[in-house]
Symmetry: C2
Subunit: 88 residues, 2 copies
Amino acid sequence: MDVLRVSATSKSRALAGCIAGVIRNNGRAEIQAIGAAAVNQTIKAAAIARAFLELDGIDIVLIPSFTQVMIDGAEKSAIRFVVESREL
Amino acid sequence: MDVLRVSATSKSRALAGCIAGVIRNNGRAEIQAIGAAAVNQTIKAAAIARAFLELDGIDIVLIPSFTQVMIDGAEKSAIRFVVESREL
């Protein structure tokens, strides 16, 4: 499954639509965010996506963990979110 | 139940211990964070708390939503996290 990569400039509403789409199709999504601003956009997007998915009788939960990613040859700490669906 | 209020200067490891304690006792916690830095500290704390709770055979999931809070007479947007436990 593709990992949604979120940056500080990601639009939370657009990302919310993306999360909702992946959840509707797969029941599960994976998001990677580097830095406080990107983590914040991810959380706002997840809160909005919950409202979108409510109409489908679906709720989502987030499971965060630390991960290391390589950016331009340097190792950076990132947050990986597994997004799981469950019935409302 | 008390709401854990997280600020930008909250220490994520101390907060993680707090989350783990509330989850062990109640199976559920509620966290409120205002601003990107506070949201980031909350997520890092949750990732650390998952490691603490793994020894107890417990995992946690986060359910974020928007909420409004009054700070010094002004209404501010905040993120409310419900933290639920589930068996590993």
